[in-house]
Symmetry: C2
Subunit: 404 residues, 2 copies
């Protein structure tokens, strides 16, 4: 019997704790293989400082049930990249810490960077002959992991985006004066989440009128031309854009406005392409404009959780535990889609997943780059189905979270 250690890493989602719940629930089904279940605080970074909790002791039955619906990373998160060189002392230190807690199963819920951690740790463990199994459980609202049909977290974020854009379209249409509302949606390199805004449409010609993904170089003049065509037909246009839009020279639109900074991974810190475009439209077309940035709400709004997404997030966590118990390591849980819609769970070699990025295929974007195709909307539609019943208390969602 060995103990299990689970962590969460990278940006949170509305259902990342559902995967944690799946891990807890499944682990209890293996009393002969799994002893205690520990949770790293703030991922591998916190664990290196000795921060972890006994999840069995920390959550009573009621709290555990509410955890399933609570957005954000219950255990805390980190953005921490292990060194490329497996001879770096941090690996030896990590293995020592894992062995000190008698860990046999290491489950890490996260996106690209987190899978890089799983990849490196499993490679190091293999080299040292350690029997600890390292399994990745996918999570990202960006839906940009390869070798899986989609990722937990995306369906709920997509449902939030589609719902909010439908509401914004209604709100924008109440006045007679012509207007353009630019909605800026998360997605630096992959436009999956912005594409979900297409599901807001109820009839042909409904808003959003235009949708721009980062996969296609953005042409300002072509955009203004298309917008004028739209405004000739309808007074109030909603335009959905990915935060990571770039021009044909590769410059981010948000950098036109000058202020930009980089995070510790060297990623550009983006914000502002929506604002830039609203200003451009106001200037050139002389109409009223508004910018909406969904910001973190698109990854933490529990009211728009997709039941499908929530269930799959749970299943992904559970499948990760089963795989580790079965002796698998150095792998990530993957989704294959069946017809009619259901999911078969599988595993991929995590070294083939990490540091890759799945963008929207060209054939799912309209020829002129100002919209997505019906095939893309059909791909997303099953992922937003169903609404869980969120536990409520005093008119508010009754989430469970640790006091600081």
């Amino acid at each position: 019997m060995k103990n299990l250690l689970v962590g969460q890493s990278g940006g949170p989602t509305a259902v990342i704790n559902a995967s944690l719940w799946g891990v807890l629930h499944e682990a209890a089904l293996y009393p002969e293989q799994i002893g205690r279940v520990y949770g790293m605080r703030n991922g591998i970074e916190g664990f290196l400082k000795g921060h972890f909790i006994d999840l069995g002791a920390s959550l009573d039955a009621g709290a555990r049930e509410r955890l399933k619906y609570t957005p954000g990373s219950f255990l805390g998160s980190c953005r921490f990249r292990l060194p490329e060189d497996l001879d770096a002392p941090v690996y030896q230190e990590l293995l020592r810490l894992l062995e000190a807690q008698d860990i046999g199963y290491f489950l890490y819920i996260g996106g690209n960077d987190s899978m890089d951690t799983v990849c490196k740790l499993s490679a190091y463990a293999a080299r040292t002959g350690s029997s600890i199994r390292f399994v990745g459980i996918p999570k990202t609202i960006d839906n940009d992991l390869v070798l899986t049909d989609h990722t937990p977290g995306f369906g709920s974020a997509a449902k939030f985006v589609a719902t909010a854009v439908r509401e914004i379209g209604i709100d924008a249409s109440v006045y007679e004066a012509p207007s353009a509302t630019i909605v800026e949606i998360m997605g630096r390199h992959a436009g999956w989440l912005t594409a979900a805004s297409a599901l807001a449409r109820k009839f042909p010609g409904d808003n959003p009128a235009l949708i721009y993904l980062p996969e296609i170089p953005f042409d300002q003049e072509a955009f203004l031309g298309r917008l004028q065509e739209v405004l000739a037909v309808r007074r109030n246009a909603v335009v959905c854009v990915s935060e990571g839009l770039r021009d044909r020279d590769g410059n981010f639109l948000c950098e036109y406005a000058a202020s930009s900074s980089t995070d510790q991974f060297g990623h550009k810190q983006l914000s502002g392409c929506g604002r830039y475009l609203a200003q451009l439209v106001k200037e050139r077309l002389g109409i009223k404009t508004r910018t909406v940035e969904f910001n973190v709400s698109q990854r933490c709004a529990a009211q728009e959780q997709s039941l499908t997404d929530l269930s799959e997030a749970i299943d992904a966590g559970a499948f990760g535990v089963r795989s580790a118990v079965a002796g698998k390591t150095g792998c990530m849980v993957t989704f294959s889609r069946n017809t009619p819609y259901s999911i078969s769970y599988g595993l991929a070699d995590v070294s083939l997943v990490c540091n890759q990025e799945k963008t929207v295929p060209r054939e799912w974007i309209s020829l002129d780059g100002s919209d997505v195709t019906p095939a893309l909307a059909s791909y997303i539609l099953p992922l937003i189905q169903g609404s869980p019943s969120i536990p409520m208390k005093d008119g508010m969602p009754d989430f469970v979270y640790l006091q600081p």
Copy 2:
């Protein structure tokens, strides 16, 4: 028998169409007094251009039911102020148009400016001996109408704000690095909606850490001092601010940024007060900051509708019809609160309501102006209770709205 004309005016809310539904439902109960029910398109401004629809013919039973849950102004809205001088020709023209459609009941769903319209029209009608009855049905997320305990639309907006702030607090707390998240909430002069963020707290010391309303002059240095105190206790602080914060000289904070920066088009950048404060904190305290602006979602998010608010919005519409049938005119529907919580509906002279503004009383704001008192939270709490079951289709809320 006379016809009824109903309109919507001013900014939309999540439940303004519930009041419209209440008007439709109640009007059908008076077949001997009320003939057709017409809806002005885009309020009084559209009606002056001859734009109105026969609501009985426009909505089948299914659409009418879905209307109850649809945010935004189904009939369209306007921001139109009638002249002060009742001798202006527009009054004669309006009366002619009303008489041409054999209108006996004029119901206007709106806020301050809309009540001004009801006031002037009823005064003009009285002067000319017209028997048309003019009744106002209150609506505003700002909750700033006088002579009523609260206004329909506020409860749902408050529930949205409280829920989203709780989610943002969870999201902001996942990383170890200290941070401040500034959430900017609607409210130029009245802080009711920003105050609702206090309901996000689950335990003492929970986020939001600080709440600033426009009723109290904002002191930058005092704010930075309070924030440092907060950050000494908790890593991640959420600060909720009203968009209309002003300093002791009466200058809007959002204008500070405008005076210092210009955009790439050479225009003054009118950034929100949230952005200004985030930049200030980053500059002075050197920590990571983020700004969240709820924007129009706070007035159009159906998923966070309060069932209490929805029911009261319906009742307000119905009470308006009953009052008009009973011969009342020049009045607005008002709410009185009973203990335990329930609402008694009444009427106020609309001339005492329009162009007034109810702000948050000083005793409901903490002494140093950085929080609200428990009494204010207790006032808001009953207004966010219950969640209606929104009709869904294909994973999305099945709203009803007119094609452009």
